[in-house]
């Protein structure tokens, strides 16, 4: 689950990480009212999940309520795009934040590192919008420390990072406390990533987290029921909600751009099935992994979810059973096709592995004859979709 800046900063505040004064506003009127009540220089920051909002014009300044109103209206109509999100993301709300008198911008993050199997601190004295460029062109300006989870955070880690990254001395007093608080937040919320970019040193010597990027591990969310409300704001939520609604894991369904529906067991086979469709010159309409050990009812619901996408012209159900049993899958398919409540599309089934014989018998009784291989199934599904016209 990704958090928006204002949500991340709420966690930061609780953890004792200094953040600038701010107010979260959903309308231009709210923005203006807040600035009227709190005279000063303010930054209006578009709240979106995609990166690059600064370069896309999503961050503006205002000194008065009057100046702020049209700016806020413009921001709230903005759709922010970048390479990773070409379709763009509409700005949802605005964080009105104290304008800082910046002396220096540093970078501080902790992420879960697969390779070392440890939480890794990443620090640079050259924070700000161009951190990725710094990373590419001056990798030596970025320092890292992989924390032993058995040891946890220790003060020396912060000292080591601050000295190795050559943080300006103005940071030295505040940095260890911020690094420790950030680690505790990372640890207690089971985060994949916590990032402060920039970590600002002001001209009067204060240090603030001027941005907040927090990504939590979905598998650990059950330990934090208090965050459930934010879950609804999280991107990809429509697909996740649909998956969860029928009893799948939240990342087991994703709608895509093509016209061939996919149901597979296991994420690997699901992706493999999409690859096979691409190899057969088709495009998948979705990714759907029924998980391990799915029962008939779940197979039926998965069918319903896939065909609820009107783009779907053909469906390829590709099962290689391990923990999943062929008979349960076959029963689910037969159930799904009964009656008229679910849309029918040309269907290709491939069914092998655990309880394959029982499953095939059930399908045969219903007049269905599975294909033998994934490649064969993909080719036939693509042919069905093409023959159904555009």
């Amino acid at each position: 689950m990704k958090l928006m800046e204002y949500q991340g900063k709420e966690l930061f505040k609780k953890a004792g990480i200094p953040v600038p004064n701010s107010a979260h506003a959903a309308t231009a009127a709210d923005v203006a009212a807040f600035i009227r009540a709190n005279p000063g220089s303010w930054v209006l920051k578009s709240q979106v999940f995609v990166g690059g909002r600064g370069k896309a014009g999503g961050i503006k300044f205002a000194d008065t309520a009057e100046a702020a109103t049209p700016i806020a209206e413009t921001l709230l109509r903005l759709v922010i795009k970048n390479n990773q999100a070409p379709e763009g993301e509409a700005v949802r709300s605005i964080l009105v934040e104290e304008k800082l008198d910046i002396a220096s911008e540093a970078y501080l993050a902790i992420m879960l590192d697969r390779a070392t199997k440890r939480p890794v601190f990443i620090v640079s004295a050259q924070g700000g919008m161009d951190i990725e460029e710094v990373s590419e062109k001056h990798p030596e300006a970025i320092v890292k420390y992989a924390v032993d989870p058995a040891v946890g955070f220790q003060p020396f880690i912060a000292r080591d990072l601050a000295f190795a990254a050559n943080l300006p001395t103005g940071y030295h007093k505040a940095f260890p406390k911020i690094a420790q608080a950030l680690y505790e937040l990372f640890f207690s919320y089971g985060a994949n990533l916590v990032e402060i970019n920039p970590l600002v040193l002001t001209k009067d010597g204060r240090v603030f987290a001027s941005d907040a990027k927090v990504e939590l591990d979905d598998n650990g969310l059950f330990k934090h029921p208090e965050l459930a409300a934010w879950k609804n704001d999280s991107p990809g939520n429509d697909d996740e909600a649909a998956a969860v609604a029928i009893g799948l894991g939240m990342s087991n369904y994703a709608k895509l751009d093509g016209d061939i529906g996919v149901i597979a067991n296991g994420a690997g086979l699901g992706m493999g099935t999409m690859d096979a469709i691409r190899n057969a010159h088709g495009v998948a309409a979705n990714f759907l992994d029924i998980g391990g050990g799915a029962q008939a009812a779940l197979v039926k619901k998965s069918y319903a979810l896939v065909v609820s996408n009107p783009k779907v012209k053909a469906l390829f159900i590709n099962i290689f059973g391990g923990i999943t049993r062929g008979d349960q899958v076959a029963l689910g398919i037969v159930e799904a096709l009964k009656g008229d409540d679910l849309r029918k599309v040309p269907l290709v089934v491939r069914l092998t592995g655990t309880n394959e014989k029982e499953g095939r018998a059930i399908l045969a009784e219903a007049g269905m004859h599975p294909v033998e291989t994934m490649d064969e199934g993909a080719a036939r599904a693509v042919a069905f979709a093409k023959s159904s016209g555009t």
């Binding site: 990773q84 990809g236 923990i323 490649d375």
Partner: protein, 294 residues
């Protein structure tokens, strides 16, 4: 020979009386796995459906049976505890089938259970064909032979192994290492074990987009397995960037973990990367002939 598992390995099942535990215990026993008992707290002293003795704790089970291997069918909130219990009881290899374990739980488990090899979590387990199956794989697609198989995916592995078997390429040991961000046993761990296994003459490596495990594997192959025929496959190459497809590992971010970076890494060490699973067997045969011709 084989890696990690053979006919003699004594195996217990943590969660033996649960729905999945009981079902797969029966299948593993049918395959010939030397299952010596299982654990369900509160049911100690009873006998499981499979006829195997049930113990209250792993320690009791190990003391009574001498088990060295364990397979864990326990829900995500309790899986880390099950792994700690296995380690404390002296288990040497634990296969964790459970999907959905918090990554931070695994972070700590992996860092604090020295001496115990963990396969997974969120994996199909491992099999030494014809000898022992400790996992949820469909045993009948595997055949004994000399190809080592390592895979981040579960079901895709069955696909690949099925085709290897049909092409007459039997397997020494197949390890499903799991697709989670933090796993106990990596490609490199398995490659190292295969490199010391006399029976394994060739290796198939089934990776995925995301992470850098495949790049690390390529580096190891370049250094230690130059003379072993290896064929790789990268799943999820048609996945759109930024979308999350099931495995948390399959996130593409920045330039790391892209299919291109992985393909490049393998090609640099002369490991062909199959375009689709059905090409793997043929590519491996070519490589084997090449070695044979030398």
């Amino acid at each position: 020979m084989s890696i990690y598992l053979d006919k003699q390995s004594k195996v217990i099942v943590q969660g033996i009386t649960g729905r999945e535990g009981a079902f797969h215990t029966a299948r593993m026993l049918a395959y010939g796995t030397n299952i010596v008992g299982g654990v369900t707290p509160g049911k100690g002293g009873t006998t499981a459906e499979s006829g195997k003795p049930v113990f209250n704790t792993v320690r009791e089970a190990v003391q009574a049976t001498g088990a060295t291997h364990s397979i864990i069918f326990v829900p995500p909130p309790f899986a880390a505890d099950a792994l700690y219990e296995a380690h404390a009881a002296g288990i040497k290899l634990a296969v964790c089938i459970t999907e959905g374990i918090p990554a931070h739980d695994m972070l700590k488990v992996v860092a604090t259970t020295p001496g115990m090899r963990i396969i997974g979590p969120n994996c199909p387990g491992l099999i030494t064909p014809g000898e022992s199956l400790v996992g949820i794989m469909p045993g009948h697609v595997f055949t004994p032979g000399s190809v080592g198989v390592i895979s981040r995916s579960g079901t895709l592995t069955y696909e690949i192994v099925d085709m290897l078997s049909r092409a007459g390429l039997g397997q020494s040991t197949c390890v499903g290492i799991g697709g989670d961000p933090i796993i106990g046993t990596t490609f490199v761990d398995c490659l190292r074990a295969f490199s010391q296994d006399e029976k394994t003459k060739a290796i198939v490596l089934c990776g995925e987009i995301g992470g850098s495990d495949e790049e690390d594997a390529a580096a190891f192959i370049g250094e230690h397995l130059r003379n072993t025929p290896v064929v790789a496959f990268i799943g999820g190459r048609s996945a759109p960037a930024g979308k999350r497809l099931g495995h948390a590992g399959a996130i593409i971010s920045g330039n790391t973990g892209t299919p291109e970076s992985k393909v490049k890494a393998f090609q640099a060490v002369h490991v062909p990367v199959a375009d689709k699973p059905s090409d793997i067997a043929a590519l491996l045969k070519q490589r084997l002939e090449l070695v044979g011709a030398r």
